[in-house]
Structure formats: structure tokens, C-alpha cells
Amino acid sequence: MNFLAGALEEALETLGELLADRGEEAEVVAIGGGSLLLLGFIARPTKDLDLVAVVDEGKYVSAEPLPDFLSSAIRDVAAATGLREDWINGGPTKLLDLGLPKGFESRTTTRHFGGLVLHLAGRKDQVFFKLYASVDQGPDSKHAIDLRKLQPSSDELNAAAAWCRTHDSSEGFEQQLELALRAFGGENER
């Protein structure tokens, strides 16, 4: 089942209330379509909320696997609402290994849902991630559509391209990146 912003907010409120009720607290960092929906940048339905990290004692750590208490609460909310069991998942957490854009933490927007603290990636960082995903999945992908909605400037696209190269320096990727930049109106400044 896909959800729109209202349903996602409600599911997060339920999750936060459940965690608080069980005496648990979780702090997580989201990127991607679900987070863009919550920030109001896009309106398309999304099937999940992607986490890039869990915050543990102030530090970003891998969101794969999620802590047991959080996974269990996520599954419980899914069973009651008809959402997929992995409606919150750590799918993109590998981005942590090669590094998030510099200053990422300072640009996040923080939302509180009971026992859940949710940091949403800032617009600039979303441009970085969406360009990276668009290169991977092509100009007609949902990522490319989301990137257009973010209306990145040429400078932002170039900065995003520079960050993307730190994650993949292969020739094939560079060719695809060049095509993507042209499609979005950026220039390859390499």
C-alpha cells in the first residue's frame, strides 16, 4: 500500500506513540521520496520511508539492521494499518560508508513523533541523492522526476555531481552522469 503525506504522518505518529508507550526512544535520519513528501517538496504517493542512518549517542550509524525494538514497532504499525512490513527501512544506509555530503547534519529538519525523533535530509542533500539515483536508474525514473521537482540550480547540480563522483569514479558512471547533467540543465565541470 502506498501512502500520501497525511497517511505517512499518521503512521509516524502511531509509531512514535507506540514507542513512547513501550518506554522506547529512537532517533533516525531519512532521505528519499518519503522524506520529500513530509517536507512538502513532492506530492506523489510513496511506498516507504528510507533511512540512511540511526542516531546512536549523537553519532550516525548504519540503519541495517534497525534496532529490534524499532523493527518490532514498525511491523506492529504495519499490521494495524495495512502498510508493508518494511514501510520504514534502512535501504539506502550504504551511503553512510562512502560519506554523506559535508554539512549534512546541519541542514536536516527535525520532527518529533512521541518516542521517535526523525531528521529529514535538507533540500540540497536531497538534490545530491536524487542525482546519484537518477544516474543509476535513468531519466524517466521516479528519482529523476523528484529531482526536477526540487528545481536544482546549475551550481547545485555541479556540487551534486562532484559528490556523486566520490561514490563512483568509473568511466561508465561518468558518462551517465554527463547525460543526466545535460538533461537537468547542469554542466559537467570536470
Partner: protein, 304 residues
């Protein structure tokens, strides 16, 4: 009035009617629906906080008529009861131990209640249709045999096996032995299907002539009592919660009750078609709390 309050009132009414039918002093009228003593004891203990007088009168009856109670079955049913139900039963068992002696499951290390018995309870009138289980125990002994016969009097299919009867509260081995005994005695017929024995009635009519009058319904009390106890726990736990958190708790509880609901042919509410609504869930709980103890079909969750 809250849903929890309504459920408690409904359950207390049910328990008072059953206990007065058994012989507890009281005015509630009897219904011709079979009573299951051990399931009744467990559910009564779970509601003892809500009505200490019912608890005391139930203990008074037990002090007088405890020979009808099957302790092995009580032990087996308590194993299948929720932690809340077992904890609630422990002081009840400790008080029974104090009053009548003997070993009572869960009584160990539990503190007994300081109860002064009214001594107003009378011995059960075994001609009462609702007391068919007690009459069968008087005839065949307090045993799996008596309880199997009670369970199969209104059996809805032509045959049955030990696995079909585990809900009664005995191990499959005990049930198989008792069924063999009933077949040896000529009351039942048995036929081997694959590697399993299937049983059917051979002398139902003569037996019915012996034990009449029969109740109009013989509900499957052990799973019903666990489901009712689970509903009570759910409504107590969700009283101060938002509707959406209550729905999550409900789904967790229905998962715990899954096997019992299945044994009763009741499909629990599921969010696969549409998100669950707490008000609809409460209505489903209330409807089934009314229908199941009357030996009727469970009610489906209504998606509106």
C-alpha cells in the same frame, strides 16, 4: 460508559448466571447452555478484582463441591492461559488450597485471600441441562472420558479424532487413550484412516436417554474463555490510548489469540483490505463477547 466497563458488566453477568446455576447463592436465572467448570474458574479469577463478592461465593461453592473440579485439566488449561490470567488465578488457587487442602496449580508461592466463606452455596442440581459436564463427571468420573463425551454430544461432523479435541484441555495422548476406551466400551466406533484413528458415535441415543435433558448449546469454553480474557486485557490496556495506538494493540492481541479464534471459526480483524478502525474493532469485540458464550457463530469484522 467505556467499552471496558460494558465488557466487564457483560462478563460478570455471564459468570454470576453460571455460578448461580452451579449452586452459588444468587438470583440470576439459568440458561440451558453447558457450563465448563475449569474455564469458569479461570475467567472468574481474572475478574475477581472487579467483583470480590463473586470471587468469594465461587470459592464458597468450590469449598463445598471441589470433587467436581478436574485439577489435571485445570493445570493444562492454565498452561494455555495468558500470563495475566495465570497470575490472577494464583491467589485463587492458594485460597482453595487453604480451604480444602490438596495441590492446586499455580498455588505455590502465591498469597491467599483472606476470605470468610458464606457457606450459602448448595450442591449442584445435576438435572439442570447446563450442568451436563458435571453430570457426565458424576457418571464416568472426573476424567477425559467425561469431558470428551460432553464435547462430542453436539459434534458438527460425522467423525472426529484426538487432534480435533485438544481444545478441551487434555494432551493428544490422553485424548487418544480415552477415545480408545470409549470405543472398547462400544459407545464409539473407530476406523483407521491412514495412520490415524477416526471415531464416530455408536450408541449416542442410549447415552442421551441416560443423561437428558441436554443443553441447547455446548460451547467450546476453553478457547472462548481465553478469547474473552484477551478482550478484557485489550480494553484495559487501551483505555488511555489514542485510537490508532489501540488498533496496534488490538492486532497484537488478535495475533496472540489466533489459534483460539481459529478453533472457534472466527476470523480476526485484519488490515489487509483497509486500515482498521478502533470503533469497528470495539464493535467486533462486543459482538463476539455476546455471541460466543451463547454457543453461537462468531461475528465477522465489518469493513465500512
Amino acid at each position: 460508559m467505556s467499552a471496558r466497563h460494558d465488557l466487564v458488566e457483560g462478563l460478570l453477568d455471564l459468570l454470576w448466571r453460571q455460578w448461580t446455576t452451579l449452586g452459588v447463592a444468587g438470583v440470576n436465572g439459568a440458561e440451558p447452555i453447558a457450563i465448563d467448570l475449569e474455564a469458569l474458574l479461570i475467567l472468574t479469577a481474572q475478574l475477581s478484582r472487579q467483583d470480590p463478592r463473586l470471587r468469594d461465593e465461587a470459592l464458597d461453592w468450590c469449598a463445598k463441591s471441589h470433587r467436581f473440579i478436574s485439577k489435571p485439566r485445570l493445570k493444562q488449561l492454565l498452561k494455555l492461559t495468558s500470563d495475566t490470567g495465570r497470575v490472577a488465578f494464583a491467589p485463587f488457587a492458594a485460597t482453595l488450597h487453604h480451604q480444602v487442602g490438596g495441590t492446586w496449580p499455580t498455588a505455590e508461592n502465591a498469597e491467599r485471600w483472606k476470605v470468610s466463606l458464606s457457606t450459602k452455596s448448595r450442591a449442584p442440581e445435576l438435572e439442570e441441562p447446563a450442568l451436563i459436564n458435571l453430570k457426565l463427571r458424576a457418571l464416568f468420573g472426573v476424567s477425559a472420558r467425561a469431558d470428551i463425551i460432553a464435547a462430542i454430544l453436539h459434534w458438527p461432523a460425522p467423525d472426529f479424532g484426538a487432534a480435533d479435541l485438544v481444545w478441551i484441555g487434555y494432551t493428544k495422548r490422553n485424548l487418544a487413550d480415552a477415545l480408545d476406551g470409549l470405543a472398547d466400551a462400544g459407545l464409539l466406533a473407530s476406523v483407521r484412516v491412514g495412520n490415524r484413528l477416526r471415531f464416530s458415535w455408536r450408541k449416542r441415543r442410549p447415552l442421551i436417554r441416560l443423561v437428558e435433558p441436554l443443553p441447547t448449546a455446548i460451547p467450546r469454553w476453553p478457547p472462548i474463555a481465553r478469547v474473552l480474557g484477551g478482550f478484557l486485557e485489550l480494553l484495559e490496556r487501551t483505555e488511555a490510548k489514542s485510537d490508532r495506538a489501540a488498533v496496534v494493540e488490538a492486532v497484537r492481541m488478535f495475533e496472540l489469540l489466533k489459534e483460539d479464534l481459529k478453533a472457534l471459526g472466527v476470523e480476526p480483524p485484519s488490515a489487509t483490505k483497509a486500515p482498521l478502525k478502533w470503533q469497528r474493532v470495539i464493535e467486533w469485540v462486543q459482538a463476539n463477547s455476546w455471541e460466543l458464550p451463547r454457543g453461537r457463530q462468531g461475528v465477522a469484522y465489518e469493513v465500512r
